[in-house]
Subunit: 264 residues, 2 copies
């Protein structure tokens, strides 16, 4: 059992706090610049103290997990005061571990590869947790904590983590935006987007079972120019920018197919 | 129970044939230009006759379902000879129903909104089937057949179907290509793409529960320029075209957010 302080009270901090307590760890403090948010999260926990102060010199926590927006980290680090025994990690997909070196404590990264929403519980067991640490003792502690809440724990360098985060933005954030575009196309004809669920679920299943380029379908990979021209015309009426996106992704699909054929 | 002839023996035709027979209909003939393919599909069915001839004047089928590539339809229609009683439909997402008028039979469209793979069974009950017909009697027959295999049956005009197909290409084919890009980014660092399953599944769940733009996350919607610049640099090393796609989708995400804010 570790005593863990959470710096941050947003979605990542909230989900993490509950998972850690369920796994038998104890949250000692919850920090938020807005005291109210710290209080709200602390109330859901066993006996965490909410605070809006960054002086933790008297804290008994073994581990400090910083889960704040990337942009807020740097300023926060200049104000954060830690007890001598603490190790400290951040949860960012993009920021280097080395930023934490100025705290003069063993430090690391604890990056859960998931998108968290306020009221939606997540299944922690399957969420990959990417770890990095300044030294062997710290990675061992982080691995112990991570494996208490997930079966998918990985040691990942800062450089690798940046690539993973980039891939996640493209695979998830961008896919979600494509779904927004589809949603907007369907809206005027009164078709609810959830009709696409079986199609999207099946596409996802296939992409998980073999490399996505091997299950690529659609007009771009068939080189079906008439259909693509029809689509571009329809799409331009919605948004010229979307038509541009259509063209570039179709081009990339065609180039991928050409490269694959050239290799075989 | 209807007697149904299948013109085509590819993925759509195969999945449809088995679903129709499971629902109590009878497949009378299976046509493919390659006799071998017709034979292979017919062997899986109750008593379908395989053929590579398009003369069906002696057929007893009530309904002809044409499930061939869009590009092959036009030539096929000039050779197809139907019995007097038949109604005829195609299964295309993009082609107009009116193409079938030259056959001088009641005609329509039977478009299942799903992506079909050779060896992967699909759950027909939830697949939306989009119907269109030249007359009331025909739409009634199609609705009867469709509702035998799916609970999601819709009357959709040719114009609407084109929009649906466009939305499907963007939501599925293009999302799959983004997953290919992510796959390529992860490959050199030895991260298997299936680690992204919880993240993708969660993103999909959210997009099904509320309009996707309301659950949009990532650097583009936060206006996080440093992260986006880092991503563009990493991505350009993989492919300048992918970097261009990154830029345009990020721009579209930002514009969507700006429009939403402007409206509220």
């Amino acid at each position: 059992m570790f005593r863990i302080a959470l710096i941050g009270a947003g979605n990542v901090a909230s989900h993490l706090a509950e998972a850690l307590e369920s796994a038998g760890h104890r949250i000692t403090e919850v920090f938020s610049r807005r005291k109210k948010n710290a209080v709200m999260l602390a109330e859901k926990l066993y006996q965490a103290t909410p605070t809006d102060k960054l002086d933790f010199t008297a804290s008994k926590a073994d581990v400090f997990i910083i889960a704040v927006a990337d942009a807020a980290l740097s300023e926060l680090l200049h104000q954060l005061q830690l007890p001598p025994q603490a190790i400290v990690v951040h949860t960012s997909g993009t920021l280097s571990m080395n930023l934490l070196a100025i705290l003069n404590r063993p430090h690391g990264v604890f990056y859960p590869l998931q998108t968290f929403s306020k009221h939606k519980p997540v299944e922690w067991q399957r969420i990959p947790i990417c770890l990095e640490a300044s030294d062997k003792a710290t990675i061992d502690i982080l691995a112990q904590i991570a494996s208490d809440i997930s079966t998918n724990v990985y040691a990942i360098s800062s450089e690798e983590r940046k690539q993973i985060h980039l891939a996640a933005v493209i695979a998830c954030n961008f896919a979600n935006h494509l779904w927004h575009i589809a949603w907007q196309i369907l809206k005027p004809i009164g078709i609810p987007f959830h009709l696409f669920r079986p199609l999207l679920q099946e596409t996802l299943e296939k992409a998980m079972q073999m490399p996505p380029h091997k299950v690529q379908t659609g007009p771009a990979i068939r080189g079906d120019i008439p259909v693509m021209e029809q689509h571009l015309a329809l799409l331009t009426a919605h948004s010229p920018l979307w038509a541009e996106i259509y063209q570039l992704i179709s081009q990339s699909i065609a180039e991928t197919a050409a490269r694959t054929v050239a290799k075989t």
